[in-house]
């Protein structure tokens, strides 16, 4: 066998291994990234969705945040305007995670059968009031 052919075989093995690792990787670690409406619709059609990890991007409903500092727990409701559902999370959230701010969140966790989303991770993008003030000034000028 020519060395070039041998190399091609070795290369094929490596490329195959990479492809396999990638397919397996996506299968095992891929997470749905949904809006609340998509989640409500999909989980109604397919109840197994309640058992897998999900990510949801939405905004926090103002006035819905309640904190229990003694156990570092925070409960809130998220919405995309059409659908909303409650979320519970134990862990640290930014100081600005309050009802005064407009908060966009990406939450990760499981959507329980009782309709409560149990988050294992909350990434909050607080629509900064400082930037908002700035934008108003610039817009008004």
């Amino acid at each position: 066998m020519k060395p070039g052919v041998k190399f091609a075989l070795g290369a094929a093995v490596i490329v195959g291994a990479i492809t396999l690792l990638m397919i397996e990787g996506v299968k095992q670690t891929g997470t749905y990234f949904l809006t609340p409406t998509q989640l409500v619709e999909k989980s109604a059609a397919d109840p197994t969705l309640h058992d897998v990890g999900l990510k949801v991007a939405a905004s926090v409903v103002k006035g819905s945040i309640s904190r229990d500092p003694s156990v570092q727990r925070v409960d809130f409701t998220i919405s995309d305007g059409t659908n909303s559902f409650p979320v519970t999370y134990t862990g640290m959230v930014p100081d600005t995670f309050t009802d005064e701010n407009d908060i966009e969140v990406v939450i990760e966790g499981k959507f329980g059968n009782d309709g409560v989303f149990v988050a294992t991770d909350v990434i909050a993008k607080c629509g900064s009031r400082y930037e908002a003030v700035w934008d108003e000034q610039v817009a008004a000028s």
Partner: protein, 679 residues
């Protein structure tokens, strides 16, 4: 000053487009006498962009808050050195930074390249100038992308610099990464020039080799400092999150690393000519792709600039450049016939080929994972993301395979290695690797991946040690030099080879540090002053931490709440550790930005004790802490330094071989005829 800035941008843009157009016109009409004019275009673009940059810095330093960019990224109480870095803190300024550095590099490429390659230089000027012109076009025609825009009113104070950017790491991280990205335009320009001029020997590789090495060094520094910044500022105690923007900086590093290895095969054997062209074009395109990802907001990331339409300029540029470059490559395909074939799988060439395959494979999987949300949405209508587990699952095995090749490559001869050669070369490294593994097993390490990573690291260190030892011993015996002298001269006379080995040592240290992160310990606690908690180190001892209280004070441009903890290791007091919550304010005391956290850190060569103060509820001193013990983190920074030193050694100018060649004895009588001839 903004008028001057505007004017300078337009001047640079027009000269850039003109000189690029002229370069192609000169080729088409065969007018070589135009080449000097084209090359001078590079200097003119550089000069105009320097004027524009000076205008922006003038605005920043004079606190001219009527300029939108100055007001948006600085404030009166911002320390002066951050006025320098505010230049590239925002979208607009970083575009100008990019353009001006490209202008400087373009001019340097003209000035520093040997006259041997003068046929290539007009095209190099054409490519660097049109690229600079593109960046200027984004500023001039992009929506809200011009750094010289003025406001219709003048705010009393600016909005200040994002606190996460007020960190020594951030002074150096973006510019080094940009320098790496930008300097890649020069090797790309040489590749295109070689294709245009049909000068397809290894000449273009020699002409741009140092540029490629410099890019690689800058990218390495930028990525390492980025990891350091993430570790200190993002507060999650990790160095690499597989965030899209991080991945975007890794992609060109991977393909450039592949390129630096595969060009050696072209220089030595005349193989892989097409592959090398493709790699360098691809690497340049990846830098543009990275810029697109960072600025368009198509993929959510913690590092990115705000979303804007500017991203689509980059997408357009990416597509046009890709189509033009690969079409050009296709038209020159027959000229890039390889001069030799692979003779054996047991050869240096084959090891390099597998190295290239692994590096490009890693790059492909990283890109796939990064783009997966977009791909899955397009194909299946639902967005699916993949996180760190995907990247780790794919890249740990591939990374270890690559590490193994780092140890194997230098042991195998070019062309074809004999069985005797293989045996002679492999014994020491294999034994070193096995001894390392067994020693770790005896020490109690049971994690399979960690054992593999450290065992292979031992193998690579064995290879490098053997190479150094053989070289030193040969000099010691043949030239009767003492061991240290022999070592210095050995490295001095074979800079590429031994510099490369030192880079490999740096890579090994990275792998060791990554392995350490698998053993981190973590705890979250609430403490009132006086209360204590403990956390175990993976090395076996226990830390006891006691909350000493909260202090609040105002500093230069911020209000600080600092929590201090006393640290005892196995009962012995070793000091205190402090973590802060910071609220930045402007010079009138108005709050700016969200509160930020300053991590508390005690670092040594074995492990870091890492403390994040999570705040106290409602005026009490009861505090929430996240505690971590992160083993071997210091080796990332040491590995980075070793890597960079090795890289610098490979490209250090001059070298004895060159000198001896120049001073080769010339027979009397011949000298007169030889001088003045092209060498």
């Amino acid at each position: 000053m903004t008028l001057l800035g505007h004017f300078a941008l337009w001047a640079a843009f027009l000269i850039g487009v003109w000189s690029a157009g002229l370069a192609f016109f000169a080729r088409w009409q065969d007018r070589p006498e135009l080449s000097l004019a084209i090359r001078r275009g590079s200097y003119a673009v550089c000069a105009a962009l320097l004027v524009a940059s000076a205008a922006l810095w003038k605005g920043l330093f004079s606190h001219d808050f009527n300029i939108e960019y100055v007001a948006a990224y600085t404030s009166r109480n911002l320390p002066e050195y951050y006025l320098v870095t505010a230049f590239w803190a925002g979208q607009k300024g970083s575009l100008l930074f990019w353009a001006v550095v490209l202008g400087i590099f373009g001019a340097l490429a003209q000035a520093l390249t040997s006259n041997r390659f003068k046929d290539l230089l007009p095209y190099v000027a054409g490519v660097t100038n049109i690229t600079a012109a593109f960046f200027i076009a984004v500023m001039l025609f992009g929506e809200g992308a011009n750094p010289f825009e003025r406001l219709s009113f003048t705010p009393a104070d600016g909005r200040g610099l994002n606190p996460q950017l007020q960190n020594p790491g951030m002074i150096a991280h973006p510019p080094t990464l940009y320098l790496g990205y930008i300097s890649l335009a020069v090797p790309f320009a040489f590749a295109i020039a070689a294709l245009m001029a049909r000068r397809l020997d290894a000449g273009w590789i020699i002409a741009m080799r140092k540029w490629a090495l410099a890019s690689w060094i800058f990218l390495s520094i930028g990525i390492t400092i980025g990891m350091w910044w993430a570790y200190l500022e993002l507060g999650w105690g990790g160095v690499w999150a597989w965030d899209p923007v991080e991945n975007a900086s890794l992609l060109p590093w991977l393909t450039l690393t592949a390129f630096l290895h595969s060009v050696m095969i072209q220089e030595k054997r005349g193989m892989l000519k097409r592959w090398n062209m493709g790699l360098i074009i691809g690497t340049f395109l990846l830098t543009i792709f990275g810029t697109f990802i960072t600025r368009s907001g198509v993929i959510a990331s913690v590092h990115s600039f705000t979303q804007s339409s500017v991203g689509y300029f980059f997408l357009g540029f990416l597509l046009v450049t890709a189509i033009l470059s690969f079409t050009l490559l296709y038209t020159r395909w027959p000229d890039l016939e390889p001069e030799a074939e692979l003779e054996s799988l047991a050869s240096r060439e084959a090891a390099f080929l597998f190295n290239n395959l692994a590096l490009v494979g890693i790059a492909f999987s990283v890109m796939w994972g990064t783009l997966f949300p977009i791909i899955s949405e397009a194909v299946r209508g639902t967005k699916i993301t993949v996180g760190p587990p995907f990247f780790n699952k794919v890249n740990i095995p591939l990374g270890l395979f690559l590490l193994l090749l780092t140890g194997i490559g230098p042991l195998i001869a070019w062309r074809k290695a004999s069985a005797a050669n293989l045996q002679r070369q492999f014994i020491v490294p294999t034994v070193t690797g096995l001894v390392t593994t067994v020693a770790l097993l005896l020490a109690g390490l049971r994690d399979g991946w960690a054992l593999a990573a450290l065992g292979i690291s031992g193998f690579v260190v064995g290879t490098i040690g053997q190479e150094f030892w053989r070289g030193v011993r040969a000099r010691h015996v043949m030239h009767d030099e003492s061991i240290p002298v022999a070592l210095v001269r050995l490295m001095g006379r074979n800079r590429r080879r031994y510099g490369g080995y030192i880079v490999h040592v740096g890579i090994v240290l990275y792998f060791v540090a990554f392995t350490g992160l698998a053993f981190r310990t973590k705890a979250e606690v609430d403490l009132v002053p006086g209360q204590s908690t403990t956390i175990a180190s993976p090395f076996g001892w226990t830390y006891e931490l006691t909350h000493l209280g909260i202090s609040q004070y105002s500093a230069l441009n911020r209000q600080v709440s600092a929590a201090t903890l006393e640290v005892k290791r196995d009962g012995v007091r070793i000091g205190t550790i402090k973590s802060e919550k910071r609220q930045h304010v402007d010079s009138f005391g108005n709050r700016l930005f969200e509160p930020s956290t300053e991590v508390g850190l005690r670092s040594d060569l074995r492990e870091d004790l890492y403390v994040v103060y999570g705040g106290s509820p409602d005026g009490t001193e009861r505090s929430h802490f996240v505690l971590q013990v992160n083993p071997l983190v210091a080796w990332f920074w040491i590995g980075g330094a070793v890597l960079v030193l090795g890289g610098m050694l490979t490209m250090w100018p001059g070298g004895p071989q060159v000198k001896t060649k120049r001073r080769a004895p010339v027979q009397a009588g011949y000298e007169a005829t030889l001088t003045g001839m092209p060498s």
